[in-house]
């Protein structure tokens, strides 16, 4: 008998009587999800600001020091920001080392925890871009900010095959005496712009 069969048969034999699937409670909604989202995104160590439209986003990005001062930068947000690195010209993701800042479009934001859902399709040809970059900028539309994770899973698309992740703030660790340090392995800063 293969290990697969052996394991499945052992699990079947050991299984308790069927337990029905429970209903999950409704997640609390916020009266002002965008306001709450901005607060949460700051509370998890990031920066967050609301801009009225695409022009406002462009201006805010240009005014952001980590973007303005970077020499190696890339924006995958359609029509916003001028990239100096062409991801399509890179064949090996290891060559992304040294990338200073990446601006990426998010699909939705979650007010309760400041997380942004970034589908693999927002990452261009190399999914490492979000974690290897020194600084990260995320963009999400105000209409796409939801209250909680349960709502988020009701809305987001999981591409199959594919990839996607929630990002909530910059990379961090508290493994040394529980002192919070920003910039463990991934982005040293995370700025989220909410548009609209």
């Amino acid at each position: 008998m293969s290990s697969r069969e052996a394991i499945l048969s052992a699990l079947r034999k050991a299984a308790p009587p069927a337990v029905p699937r429970p209903a999950a409670p409704e997640g609390s909604r916020f009266a002002d999800p965008v306001g709450r989202f901005l607060e949460s995104a700051k509370a998890v160590g990031g920066e967050a600001a609301r801009v009225p439209d695409r022009a406002g986003l462009e201006a805010a990005l240009r005014a952001l020091p980590v973007w303005a001062e970077a020499r190696k930068k890339v924006s995958l947000v359609p029509g916003v920001g001028v990239s100096t690195v062409d991801l399509a010209a890179i064949s090996d993701p290891h060559q992304l080392e040294g990338l200073e800042v990446a601006a990426l479009p998010g699909e939705l934001g979650v007010a309760e925890n400041g997380a942004v859902w970034v589908p693999g399709t927002s990452l261009g040809p190399h999914r490492a871009v979000f974690v290897i970059t020194e600084h990260l900028v995320l963009v999400v539309e105000a209409k796409d900010v939801l209250s909680n994770m349960q709502e988020a899973y009701g809305r987001l698309t999981l591409q199959r095959p594919g990839y996607g992740l929630f990002i909530s703030g910059p990379s961090k660790t508290a493994d040394i005496e529980q002192a919070l340090v920003i910039g463990a392995h991934g982005a040293r800063s995370c700025t989220v712009f909410v548009v609209g």
């Binding site: 609390s28 493994d175 340090v181």
Partner: protein
């Protein structure tokens, strides 16, 4: 090695200031958890739902694993099955060896600790770098993790500075967490760029979509699995949940219970390999089906490894992770350890006050303190209790069953303790009186008083 919890705890407590510091540090995590849980109005109902979802999944693990496998394969993920740790290690090694891998960037996985994967691969010539900062610290120190979420929580920053000076050639005398973390970042970035494969655990496997989810704060799992073309993920059979949407419940509980964060920084959903690469998932039983078969202990398989039961446990906080003979310390480890090896880990269910705080904070409502009590019965039944405890219990049983003997013993105790109170500070009784005085014994028993007053 002495596996007896009380002896190891005594050694830990010899350094009283460090023990106090440890207690405070771990309690800080518990306080953050309370704050985060209190901010979610539907917290208790979320726990009900998470517990129910896990009970539901555990009642049909085979079905959900088959569904997961079918969907994962459709996503281009290669699925392997391992009956035990040895088979798991062999599968992982074969995958790595066949592709000429020499350096592996590994992110945290308690399952691979359980299987002894690192020494297995190292003895076959591979270099395995643990990339979670806390895990890298204990790896460099040659220690196991002392906590499942904060592996190096027992170490002071000065000792980490010394370790880095010795192993990573940082300047001597560093103790600033920021500087130390930066040094580790630079060191590990080189490893990430040089690794030919990434290894990770699995926080959740999704049956309906055939994906796996890995959660980190540091981004180490993402670095490790986004650069090299090969990713091998190891999961216990109990990690499968029915639907991706169920994550809406579990993720609201996990980080809040673990560290008091509203969510971890990176929650990554893998539904296929890196472009042009390979993703392998190894599904491991290693005794889990036997636990599933045992009704009183089944629910321990619902654990999502948040560590909340460790942080709240008065015994864990005051005895440290290394007092536990099993690799997972605290209440959940004191259940899982003896279920694996009752003889080796037989003292662990007694390393509890049965206060029930672990069960109260558990995000998936595992009845930990009931399981610990049930395990005590088993261990007594198997004759695994140390003879001192067996004899003590026998004597107590005898005295309590016979009123005359009881009266005689009580009279003797009153008299002896009055004339020679120092007796309780030596021998086995000393463990009770080291940090507290006995009250002065009364001259008469209640029975004698009752008689004299002629009620």
């Amino acid at each position: 090695m002495n596996t007896f919890h009380a002896d190891r705890a005594a050694a830990f407590l010899e350094d009283a200031p460090h023990a106090h510091w440890y207690d405070t540090a771990v309690w800080f995590m518990r306080s953050k958890r309370d704050h985060a849980a209190g901010a979610v109005a539907e917290w208790e109902r979320l726990r009900d739902a998470a517990s129910g979802l896990k009970a539901h999944a555990l009642s049909d693990l085979a079905g959900y694993l088959e569904e997961f496998e079918k969907n994962a394969k459709a996503n281009g993920i290669q699925v392997h099955w391992a009956r035990d740790g040895e088979e798991h290690n062999r599968i992982v090694h074969e995958i790595l060896a066949a592709r000429g891998v020499k350096l592996v960037a590994k992110s945290k996985s308690m399952l691979t600790e359980e299987c002894g994967l690192n020494p297995y691969l190292e003895s076959r010539g591979l270099e395995i770098v643990d990339t979670d900062l806390g895990e890298r610290i204990v790896q460099l120190a040659g220690e196991p993790p002392s906590h499942i979420v904060m592996p190096a929580i027992h170490r002071k920053k000065e000792s980490i500075g010394e370790l880095f000076h010795e192993k990573l050639q940082t300047p001597a005398g560093l103790s600033d967490p920021k500087t130390l973390t930066e040094a580790a970042r630079q060191h590990l970035r080189k490893k990430f760029l040089g690794a030919q494969a990434g290894l990770s655990g699995v926080n959740f496997a999704l049956a309906d979509t055939g994906g796996i989810v890995v959660v980190t704060n540091e981004g180490n799992a993402d670095m490790g699995t986004s650069l090299p073309p090969l990713h091998v993920a190891s999961m216990g059979v109990e990690k499968v949940i029915p639907r991706a949407a169920d994550l809406g419940v579990f993720l609201r509980l996990l980080a809040r219970s673990a560290t008091g964060q509203p969510i971890s920084t990176y929650t990554t959903h893998f539904h296929g390999p890196l472009r042009g690469g390979e993703l392998h998932v190894v599904i491991v039983d290693n005794g889990r089906s036997q636990i599933l078969a045992r009704e009183p202990f089944r629910r321990s398989l619902a654990c999502i490894r948040c560590g909340a039961c460790l942080n709240t446990c008065p015994v864990y906080r005051r005895s440290g992770g290394y007092s536990y003979s099993y690799l997972i310390p605290g209440p959940i480890g004191s259940v899982l350890g003896p279920l694996r090896d009752a003889e080796k880990h037989g003292s662990l269910p007694f390393a509890s006050s049965l206060c029930g705080s672990c069960s109260d904070v558990c995000p998936v409502q595992i009845d930990l303190h009931h399981q610990l009590l049930a395990l005590r019965e088993e261990i007594v039944g198997k004759g695994l209790l140390p003879w001192t405890k067996r004899l003590g219990m026998k004597l107590a049983g005898l005295v309590l069953r016979h009123p005359t003997l009881y009266r005689l013993a009580a009279a003797l105790a009153r008299r002896t303790l009055r004339s020679a109170p120092g007796l309780v500070q030596i021998g086995p009784a000393a463990t009770w009186t080291r940090q507290r005085d006995l009250p002065e014994p009364p001259r008469q028993s209640f029975r004698e008083l009752w008689k004299r007053e002629g009620a």
